[in-house]
Symmetry: C2
Subunit: 351 residues, 2 copies
DNA sequence: GCTGAGGATGTAAGCGTTTACAAGTTTTTG
DNA sequence: CAAAAACTTGTAAACGCTTACATCCTCAGC
């Protein structure tokens, strides 16, 4: 079928020959915006380019310019596909793509699944000579991030923050958002609030959300019994379910649950319902993320919404500015705002 | 902060100098698997590479090898974000990524949103000199697809089929799957079956599903009144809702609905419920796609499941084999299997 | 009409690799 | 032990482009 035409693609030499100019001139009409070339010659060259269907070889350009015009995005997922949140990742991807395309760059996508050797990650990052890296990783350790940012390739973390001031990131302020949410519960009269905290041992977001919880409780002079802070291995629905069951067995039960992730909240919801209690009335539940599932039946969850697309776009713009900044870039850490979405899962504390 | 070290990256020359061999030898230890180099020299070179932290410049490699080892995936979305089905696209992305990573290739991702000028699409496709292209487009016209496949870059369509035998694709067999679904309805005793057909004017999948519907009806000698075939502009929930409302107003109502897409089915479901009828009892509804939303409350939809990850992986493998095939490749068209998922939305035809 | 300035064009080097071919070294063989 | 065979290594060209520098024109100014 369709025998491939073995004609090798036209090069700049072919164009030069055909339009009777030198390759330098061809290159100039290709690259220089404000014409340094006679209009007549320019047209000749353009004509030849069209006739020969010439497309510049991008690898050659990249070699000589020492820029690939490529950005690579890394999705690091510990537990695939359990931790793969389509909507969250898609938001990031779409936000990044839009900015990247408007700058005429290319986007390479890379999934790091499981818990790969950190050195392997570092190697993978530099394997493609990309101009910059967007890193989405809930649990890459600080030192490896530092290792990345030490190289001359800018790296921006998206949706996760780092402690070190040398690491650029764009994230929401998980601490503040959590405080806001917990204050919402407190304002409803709740005093006995438990926190489904998720993987606080290795995920910064989880740590921060718990911190926000503690801050708000302390600020309002509320004490938190030890067993009201419930970590779990992941942000997984059955974690929320299991832990909620345990909470319901306590003699002194909480009247409200702050779940640091919507999946945990949904699990908790199921456990509460199963126990014959009504969410939002007998027990209030709040979540975090506003994934699509929590706004449709049977759920109607009060939660925190982050604009992932916007956040990702901001991160990408930051990355691009760092790439363009000629004499080394300065790490930059940005927080995007969040929104408290109130639905029927939170209500006044029962008397 | 972190002043960038301006040391330029080490080249193969630096390594050669340091290990006191020629660049050719360095290149050999880099590339040849079955050692053509003395073990002693090899170790020397490896040592120098490590000390200098040398990483081969991939642009140079690409230039000389005339291969980028890059594959580009195009998501063509007419109506963004309405037509952007996260799960469907993610399935494709994940399937492709897995195969690509296992082959040590890179994946560029590109969104074509709106209805871009077809010529622009063609240009975009060839702009990055990638080795192959995965194309996801519901509505790119045949002639432009042909234009793409005419170039020496292999293109494989994913999840959509083409008529021309010159265009490679991997898809499910929409016609057969539809037949299977409609026969399921017929076996339940339904005779008056309407089809929410979606955008049959410009989307091949929609055309095919309608064809499957017609085939099955004809095969069982059932006639289809003209107004039982209901096209719409898109596979959008409110299309299903609106059209279902109209169907419910007919004097001769259908007892079953075959919606060619889950979104249409969900919309129809809402309309039916709103009219005080019970889905699966008073009216049966079947969908297509098995998106996550149709398996949780309030929906429980009989539908067709396609394994998008598997399909995409198959497409990627096909693409890679075409890339590797030395003397031109042969277009190949593959159909992956589907599954009929029966839930409570379909039941026996009412008497 | 000549000089010189400034703009248009050409020449050639260089970007960092791979690889054909040549040259040199070691091993095998009779 | 010499010649042939088999390895190992080095030299240099090539991939297709950008760009510094050199050269050549054109035309203004006198």
């Amino acid at each position: 079928m369709t025998p491939k035409k073995p004609t090798p693609p036209a090069t700049i030499y072919d164009v030069a020959r055909k339009s009777k100019v030198s390759i330098a001139t061809v290159s100039r009409v290709l690259n220089k915006k404000n014409s340094v070339v006679t209009e007549k010659t320019r047209l000749q060259v353009l004509e030849a380019i069209k006739e020969l269907n010439f497309k510049p070889n991008i690898s050659a350009r990249r070699l000589v310019s020492n820029r690939t015009n490529l950005i690579e995005i890394f999705f690091h997922i510990n537990n695939f596909p359990v931790n793969f949140k389509s909507d969250w990742y898609n938001g990031i991807l779409v936000g990044a793509t839009q900015v990247i395309q408007s700058h005429n760059l290319g986007l390479l996508i890379n999934f790091l699944v499981g818990i790969p050797d950190p050195q392997e990650i570092v190697d993978r990052v530099f394997q493609n000579n990309v101009d910059g890296v967007l890193m989405i990783s809930p649990s890459l350790e600080e030192k490896h991030l530092l290792e990345l940012s030490r190289q001359s390739t800018p790296v921006v973390m998206v949706g996760h923050r780092a402690q070190s001031p040398d690491i650029s990131f764009v994230d929401t302020n998980n601490i503040e958002a959590s405080e806001m949410m917990v204050e919402h519960l407190i304002n409803l009269g709740h005093k006995k609030i438990a926190c489904l905290a998720g993987p606080i041992h290795n995920v910064q977001n989880a740590k921060d959300r718990l911190e926000g919880f503690k801050n708000a409780m302390a600020k309002h002079g509320l004490s938190v019994p030890k067993n009201f802070i419930v970590p779990s291995d992941g942000f997984i629905k059955h974690n929320g379910y299991d832990e909620m069951k345990k909470l319901l067995k306590l003699s002194e039960k909480p009247t409200a649950i702050y779940a640091c992730d919507d999946m945990l909240a949904m699990g908790a919801w199921d456990a509460v319902t199963e126990a014959g209690l009504k969410v939002g009335k007998d027990i209030s539940i709040a979540g975090y993320d506003d994934i699509p599932a929590v706004s449709v039946a049977p759920y109607s969850l009060t939660t925190i919404r982050q604009d992932m697309e916007g956040l990702s776009a901001a991160a990408t713009r930051l990355l691009i500015s760092q790439i363009k900044s000629p004499e080394g870039f300065v790490p930059s850490q940005q927080y995007e705002s969040t929104k408290l979405i109130v639905r029927s899962s939170t209500g006044p504390a029962p008397k």
